[in-house]
Structure formats: structure tokens, C-alpha cells
Symmetry: C2
Subunit: 191 residues, 2 copies
């Protein structure tokens, strides 16, 4: 019974013995599983399932400035400058539609050209969170309308300066870093 | 009372009314907070605190090959190729010592030269997880010794091929992607 296919090195070596939901709110569910580990020994695994994809937008204007939004991150108890980001309810909203909505809500900008840059599992030791990052260009400004959980500032930062803020450790959000790095590589011709 | 400093746009606009621990295991604690949101309305916030830093190693050998380890990720229910990674108990193990230990455990390799590449908050909408990634060079092989929760494969993949696996979506782990992208930028002379 364990493992199911001993000859396949990519087969699932974990056996779930039981699952108990220990927490739920509108954004996450937390499960406590009793398992048999890959070595066959009993163990436990706590996992966090997200209701949303994390969606981010590297938006670059005609003056080669990146739109950054600042907000106080409750989970870190610190202020954080990031690309515009939001959550797309899985199965209900397309990531691109979410990216367009969040860019408009958080910065007021609309974009003519959209390109998906990358997808990444952000914290796969414990969560199933999938981040999706877009590049948006051809920007036109408008009026921001953040929701009640957000108190935002917005800056337009030259791309090179934004990259250096990241290198200096002043930008630490993973999806922002992934997007800025990939955009920097694209600008250097790396595809 | 709310907010404490209305004139500082970077001040914490959240007020915590109560906190209840709803789950704990050896790796995470989950809290349910009742809060006042930035707009002053009541709300809830569930946050996940990690006991460990996530530590990763981009290890490149003399033939310009990156060491990748494959494992089945229980939280994603899928197989994942990643750089060697592990957890450094916060306050107990230095991230560099953890990186050196994990590289040895998962691949058998030791490295002469170490450089910290980046730090990133991996999933800051819900968690406080901090990932730290190192570049390791001057490698010498040895014998791997994974622990009981790990069934690992190891590959030595030319750097350019590893980068393309990421672009193709076959490598999705955030810390791996952050490390490969930063290493690629360094190789292009971007510091």
C-alpha cells in the first residue's frame, strides 16, 4: 500500500491517513493531516489552502517608470512597496481580468498591452498558493479606488531604480521580485 | 485611537482587537485576529507564522551545472524540481549554516564560496515566511543523506537549461525561481 508505485521515483511517497479542517476564513482553509512520511513513519502535515490566486502586475509607463504601491502588510507588521497585486478567486475570475481590475483599483491606470510573465508556487512547503505575474504596457492614467482593507500610496519609479530598491532589500515581496527580475531579463533579451 | 499617527502614510492603519491561536504544529502557528481595517470597519485576519526561515541554495559546479533536487510536494500534490532548500529555525540556526547543511544533506555537495543572493517575503498576504537564497560555487561532491520526510532525486542541469525549465513552467517554486533569475542577472553583469 505504501508507496503505490515503488518503481516510479516521482510517485507520491506520502500516505494521508486522515484530514481535519482546523480553520477557515474567506481567504484560507487550514488542514491538519495525519500521514505516513516517505520513509513510512507516522507524521503530521499542516497545510494552508488559498481561495485565491495571487495576481501581480509589472506596469511600465512610456517614461519607463514602474508603478509601485505601498501598503502596510498586517502579516509582516511592516510597510511594503510592491507591484499592484490582488486575489483572483479560483474558478471565478480569470487571472488577467483580476490583474486589470487590480491595476485600475490600486493605481487608476489602464493598460493596452498585457503579457503573462510567470507563474510560481509561492510557499510550497505549507501552502498551495499560486502567484501569477503580468507585464502591462501602453498605460493611460485614471482615478484609483482602493477597497476598505487597503490604504495605499502610489509611486512611479524608474525601472532601474525599482530594480535597485529590490537589490538593496527595500522591496521584499516575492511576486514583485519575481516580476521585476523577469522583466529585467526580458529587457536584456533573455526570453 | 485609530490610526495612531494619521499624518504618516506609512503608519500601521490596522488595529488588532483580539488574537486567538487556532492551530499549531512544529512548523507553523495560525492566528485568527479580530481587527479594525484601514477604513475603520471591523474585519478578521488569519495569519500563518512560520517557525523557520526558508533557505535555498543555487549551487553551480565547475561545468556550469545547477544542482536540482526533485521531491513530491505534499502541499501541492505534485512533483517539483527545485534548488536544495530547507528550514532554519529562527533564532537557533544561521541561514548560511542551514544552507550548507541542506546542500550536504540533499546533494552530498560541499561548497567553497558562498554569497547571499536575496531575501524575500514569500507570501505576505497571509504569512510572515522569509526566504533567503544563497549562491554556492567551488563545489566538491560527497554522499547525500536526506531525512525521513524526504525522498529526493538529484540532477545536475546546465544553467541555461535550468533557466529554460523555469521559463517553460516546469520549475515553479518561488525561491528556486528567485534564485535562478538573480543568478542569471548576475551572469549578465547586473548587480
Amino acid at each position: 500500500m505504501h508507496p503505490a508505485q515503488p518503481d516510479d521515483p516521482c510517485a507520491n511517497p506520502w500516505t494521508r491517513l486522515s484530514r481535519r479542517q482546523v480553520y477557515e476564513n474567506p481567504w484560507i482553509k487550514v488542514y491538519h493531516d495525519e500521514v505516513l512520511q516517505p520513509d513510512g513513519q507516522p507524521g503530521v502535515y499542516g497545510i494552508v489552502h488559498y481561495r485565491n490566486y495571487a495576481v501581480g502586475v509589472v506596469a511600465v509607463d512610456e517614461q519607463d517608470r514602474v508603478l509601485l504601491v505601498g501598503q502596510y502588510r498586517y502579516s509582516l507588521d511592516r510597510y511594503s512597496w510592491e507591484i499592484p497585486e490582488g486575489g483572483a478567486v479560483i474558478g471565478e475570475e480569470e487571472p488577467l481580468a483580476c490583474a486589470q481590475r487590480e491595476l485600475a483599483e490600486e493605481t487608476g491606470y489602464a493598460a493596452r498591452d498585457w503579457r503573462e510573465l510567470l507563474r510560481s508556487h509561492l510557499s510550497n512547503s505549507v501552502t498551495n498558493e499560486l502567484g501569477i505575474c503580468f507585464l502591462a504596457t501602453g498605460l493611460t492614467p485614471g482615478e484609483a479606488r482602493p477597497d476598505g482593507t487597503e490604504r495605499l500610496q502610489m509611486r512611479r519609479v524608474p525601472f532601474e531604480e525599482a530594480y535597485q530598491l529590490m537589490v538593496a532589500g527595500e522591496i521584499t515581496d516575492s511576486l514583485t521580485m519575481l516580476g521585476l527580475q523577469r522583466a529585467a531579463l526580458l529587457r536584456l533579451g533573455v526570453v
